[in-house]
C-alpha cells in the first residue's frame, strides 16, 4: 500500500514536471536586424510610387533579421522626408502636398531604407463608394470605402482622405475618426444616405438598416437537474444585433434530444419540461436558424411501481376526499407522485378525480355505485387502482374538533368537521363546511393546504368558530383563546440528510418569551425557501409546507421565515 501511494505521488509529480509546451508570445530580437524594406500597402502605389497631391497612403516597413526571418516593424520606424514641402511621412501615413518628388526614409535602430515618392498634379474627377447599397441589421456595422478617379486616369483609395457624412445619423452614423474612417454603425431601422466628399466631389451610398437580427439564444436555467416524473420551466433569452436581450420563450421552437428522458412543450409563454426517466438530454430552442441548448440531467431513478392510497375508498355522495399516488423508483426511493400521474375513473358517471395543482387529487362521487368502480393512477405503462364505493345515507349530525384552542396571535391551528350519517359512517367534511368566526378581530378561519381549515389568532381575546354542513350546524362551536406573546426564536428540526429522490419533512418551531413553543410549519405566514434547486426542491409549498425532495448530490440551504425571524439549515443530498 505504501508503495502504491508513493507511485501515485511520483506519477502526479512527474506528469506535472515535463516542461513547457506553450505558444511563445515574444519576438526574437536577439537576431540582429540587417535590412528593412518599405512597401506601399496599396498595390497600385506599390508599383507606381505615385499619389495625387492632397492625398495620402500607407507605407509599411518590413524588417529582415540576418536573413533568418522577416517581421513588420512599421510601428518602430522613424520617418523623415528630404522634401517636406512635397511629402511628409509618419508612422501612420504618407501625405503628398504639392507636385514633385520626395525621398522618404524609414529608420529602425541603425538600419534605414528609402522610398521614392512622386506627388502628381492630378485632380479628382469622380468618386465611387463601395458597397453601393448595403443592408445591415440594427446594431451591426459595415465599412465603406471610396475610390477616386483622377484627371490622369489613375485611381486611388481615398477612404482616409474623404469627409464622410450620414443623411440620417439617427438611422446610421459614419465615422470620420482617423482610425475608423468610413465605418458605419446601424442605429435604428430605416435608410440613410452615406456621402463621401473629396475636393468638392461627392459620392453616395444608400444604407438600409433592418430590424435587429437574432445572434444567439441562451437558455435558463443552465444545465439544470430535475427529478424524474417532475416538471420544470425553461426560459429562452435572445441576444440581438442591437444588444437587446428580450425573453423569446414563446417565439422559439423547443425540443429535447431524447424524448424518452424528457419532453419539452411551450404553452402560454412558458416552456415546461416533463421528465420521464433518469439520464441526460439536451434541451434546444431554435429561432431563425439560431439555436441555444442546455443539458438537462434527470435524477431520482426510474419509476418501477405505483401505490394508490387509500386502496379502498367509501364516500358519501356529494362529499369528497383526497387520494394519493406514491411512486417506487429504481434507485430505491419512494415519493409522492400524485400530481405527476394521470387519474381516471372506470365509470365517469359515478365519480370524478380532479387535480387542482401540486400533489393533490380530489375524488368527488357523483352517483351511488351498485358495484364498486375503479380509480386508476397511470404513468407510462405502470398503473395502480383504488376501489370506490359511493353510498347515500342520511346526514345525522356534525361535530367540530378540537373543541377548544389556545392560540398565539399570528399563529394558526387546524380544525376538522366530521359528519355522522344514518348508517354509522363518519366522514371528514372539513373542506365542504361553511366556517364562521364569531369575532374575526380575534380569530379568522380560512382554508389551508390539503383541504384543511385553519384558524388564525389575530389579537388577544376569545371567540368561537362554528361550522355548517348539509343544513346542520355544529352544536358546540370551537372555543378559541388568543394570547399575545413575543416571538423569541425560530428553529428548524428534521433529518438534514436525504437521498436523491426521497422526501423529508421539516418542522419550524416558534419559541415565545413565556416559554411557549408553537409548531408554525404550516402557518400561512410561514415561508419556506431553498437556494439550490438542482440539489433539493420544496415538494409542494401549498399542501406540504416544510417538505423537501432530494434532487442531486450536494448541499443546499433551507430557509424558513416567520414573524420577522429567519432560520436556515444545511441539507445534504446524497445520490442520485
Amino acid at each position: 500500500m505504501v508503495n502504491l501511494l508513493w507511485s501515485g505521488f511520483f506519477t502526479v509529480l512527474l506528469l506535472s514536471g515535463c516542461g513547457w509546451d506553450g505558444t511563445p508570445t515574444r519576438n526574437n530580437d536577439f537576431t540582429p536586424l540587417t535590412s528593412i524594406e518599405i512597401v506601399a500597402v496599396s498595390p497600385t502605389i506599390a508599383v507606381s510610387h505615385t499619389i495625387a497631391a492632397g492625398t495620402s497612403t500607407t507605407l509599411s516597413v518590413k524588417g529582415n533579421y540576418s536573413g533568418m526571418f522577416t517581421r513588420d516593424i512599421t510601428d518602430q520606424a522613424v520617418w523623415s522626408s528630404d522634401s517636406p514641402a512635397v511629402a511628409t511621412a509618419s508612422q501612420d501615413r504618407v501625405t503628398g502636398h504639392v507636385h514633385g518628388t520626395a525621398a522618404l526614409t524609414a529608420t529602425v535602430g541603425s538600419v534605414s531604407a528609402t522610398f521614392k515618392l512622386t506627388v502628381s498634379p492630378a485632380t479628382i474627377t469622380a468618386l465611387t463608394i463601395t458597397p453601393a447599397a448595403p443592408t445591415i441589421a440594427k446594431g451591426l456595422s459595415t465599412h465603406f470605402a471610396v475610390n477616386g478617379t483622377f484627371t490622369d486616369l489613375t485611381a486611388q483609395d481615398l477612404t482616409f482622405d474623404a469627409a464622410w457624412t450620414s443623411s440620417a445619423p439617427n438611422v446610421a452614423t459614419v465615422s470620420n475618426d482617423a482610425g475608423s474612417k468610413g465605418f458605419a454603425q446601424a442605429i435604428a431601422a430605416g435608410t440613410a444616405t452615406i456621402s463621401a466628399t473629396f475636393d468638392d466631389v461627392s459620392a453616395t451610398a444608400l444604407l438600409t438598416v433592418t430590424e435587429p437580427v437574432l445572434k444567439s439564444i441562451a437558455l435558463s436555467p443552465a444545465n439544470p437537474t430535475f427529478l424524474t416524473l417532475s416538471t420544470g420551466s425553461f426560459k429562452a433569452t435572445g441576444t440581438y444585433s442591437d444588444g437587446s436581450t428580450p425573453d423569446i420563450t414563446s417565439l422559439v421552437a423547443w425540443s429535447s434530444s431524447n424524448t424518452g428522458i424528457a419532453t419539452v412543450i411551450a404553452s402560454g409563454g412558458t416552456a415546461t419540461a416533463t421528465t420521464l426517466k433518469q439520464g441526460t438530454t439536451t434541451i434546444s430552442a431554435s429561432l431563425d436558424g439560431i439555436s441555444g441548448t442546455t443539458s438537462l440531467k434527470t435524477t431520482g431513478g426510474n419509476l418501477t411501481g405505483i401505490t394508490v392510497s387509500p386502496a379502498v375508498v367509501t364516500l358519501v355522495k356529494d362529499t369528497n376526499r383526497n387520494i394519493t399516488a406514491t411512486g417506487t423508483f429504481s434507485n430505491g426511493s419512494t415519493r409522492d407522485i400524485t400530481g405527476a400521474v394521470q387519474w381516471t375513473v372506470a365509470d365517469t358517471s359515478l365519480a370524478t378525480v380532479t387535480t387542482p395543482g401540486g400533489n393533490l387529487a380530489w375524488v368527488k362521487p357523483l352517483a351511488v355505485t351498485l358495484v364498486p368502480t375503479l380509480i386508476t393512477a397511470t404513468s407510462g405503462s405502470l398503473s395502480s387502482n383504488a376501489s370506490l364505493t359511493v353510498i347515500a345515507p342520511q346526514l345525522m349530525s356534525i361535530t367540530i374538533s378540537p373543541t377548544s384552542l389556545d392560540l398565539t396571535a399570528g399563529t394558526s391551528a387546524p380544525l376538522t368537521v366530521n359528519a355522522t350519517f344514518s348508517d354509522g359512517t363518519i366522514q371528514d367534511v372539513t373542506n365542504l363546511s361553511v366556517w364562521t368566526s364569531n369575532d374575526s378581530t380575534k380569530a379568522t378561519v380560512a382554508a389551508g393546504g390539503l383541504g384543511t381549515e385553519r384558524v388564525t389568532g389575530v389579537t388577544a381575546g376569545s371567540t368561537t368558530i362554528s361550522a355548517t354542513y348539509g343544513g346542520k350546524t355544529v352544536p358546540s362551536p370551537a372555543a378559541v383563546t388568543v394570547r399575545t406573546r413575543t416571538l423569541q426564536n425560530l428553529t428548524i428540526s428534521g433529518s438534514f440528510n436525504v437521498a436523491a429522490g426521497n422526501q423529508v419533512s421539516f418542522t419550524a418551531t416558534a419559541s415565545y418569551g413565556d416559554g411557549t413553543t408553537v409548531d408554525v410549519t404550516k402557518d400561512m405566514s410561514t415561508i419556506w425557501t431553498i437556494d439550490k434547486l438542482y440539489v433539493a426542491i420544496l415538494t409542494d409549498s401549498q399542501n406540504w409546507p416544510g417538505q423537501i425532495l432530494g434532487v442531486d448530490g450536494g448541499s443546499a440551504t433551507l430557509k424558513v421565515s416567520f414573524g420577522g425571524k429567519t432560520q436556515t439549515a444545511t441539507v445534504t443530498v446524497t445520490g442520485p
Binding site: V2, F10, G17, F30
Partner: protein, 216 residues
C-alpha cells in the same frame, strides 16, 4: 524532451515496487553518484513576452556526506545527507513567435541540498527508499545564444528542492550501490539578457543516477 522525461519515468517507477530489504549500515557515510539528466523545456519570460528554451540531456554528478540511522531508530529508518550536485545542459533550440532557432551555450545548476530519505528495510539486500531535499542552487547561463547571437551570460542563486526515490543494494555491510531517480527544481531564477531586459526561466530537471556509498 518529453520522450526523455517519459523514459526516465518508465525506468524509475518500477523501483517503487521493489521488495523489502534487510537491515543495513548505520552511522556516517560518504558517497558519489553519476547519472543522466534531462532539463525540461523551460518557459522563459521577460517584459516582452514568453519564449521557450529546449535543452539537450547531459551527464550529472553528485557527492554526498551523511548519516544512516540505525534500524528501529524512533526518528525513523533512513538517512540524512548533504549533497552537492552539478547538472549542465546545452541549449538546443530557442522558440520565439517567429519560430524555432538554434541555440548555444549551456545552463548549469550547482546544487547544495540537505536530503532526507526514508528507507524501507526488509529481509534481503534490496532496500527501496524515497525522500526529499531542500537547499540552494546556483544556476548559471553560460554564453546562451540564438544562432550565435548572445542571449545571456549571468548567474543566480535560488531556493532549490528535489524529490527522489530508488533502491539501495547492499554490497557489503559498509558498501551500498544506489540506483535512483531525482526530480530537481527551483524557484524561477532571474537572469540579465544582453539587451538589458531581465528574464525568468523554469528549471525542472529529471535524472537517473547510479551511486556508491561507503559507510564508516
Amino acid at each position: 524532451m518529453k520522450r526523455a522525461c517519459q523514459t526516465i519515468i518508465a525506468l524509475c517507477l518500477p523501483l517503487l515496487f521493489c521488495s523489502p530489504a534487510m537491515a543495513q549500515h548505520s552511522g556516517p557515510y560518504v558517497g558519489a553518484s553519476l547519472g543522466v539528466n534531462a532539463l525540461m523545456n523551460a518557459k522563459t519570460s521577460d517584459n516582452l513576452g514568453d519564449f521557450n528554451l529546449t535543452f539537450n540531456p547531459a551527464l550529472q554528478g553528485s557527492a554526498v556526506i551523511g548519516w544512516d540511522f540505525e534500524p528501529g531508530n524512533p526518528a525513523g529508518e533512513g538517512r540524512v545527507e548533504l549533497e552537492y550536485s552539478r547538472r549542465s545542459n546545452q541549449l538546443d533550440q530557442v522558440k520565439f513567435v517567429e519560430g524555432s532557432f538554434n541555440g548555444g551555450g549551456s545552463v548549469t545548476a550547482d546544487g547544495l541540498l540537505l536530503n532526507f530519505f526514508g528507507v524501507f528495510h526488509g529481509g534481503n539486500r534490496l532496500s527501496p527508499y524515497a525522500g526529499f531535499g531542500i537547499g540552494a542552487a546556483r544556476i548559471k547561463t553560460s554564453d546562451l545564444n540564438v544562432n550565435g547571437y548572445p542571449l545571456s551570460n549571468d548567474s543566480a542563486v535560488v531556493f532549490a528542492y528535489q524529490l527522489g526515490g530508488g533502491v539501495d543494494f547492499a554490497l557489503t555491510d559498509h558498501l551500498n550501490l544506489d540506483l535512483g531517480y531525482r526530480f530537481f527544481s527551483s524557484i524561477r531564477p532571474k537572469f540579465n539578457e544582453v539587451n538589458g531586459h531581465t528574464f525568468e526561466m523554469d528549471y525542472i530537471n529529471h535524472s537517473a543516477v547510479l551511486g556508491l556509498r561507503v559507510g564508516f
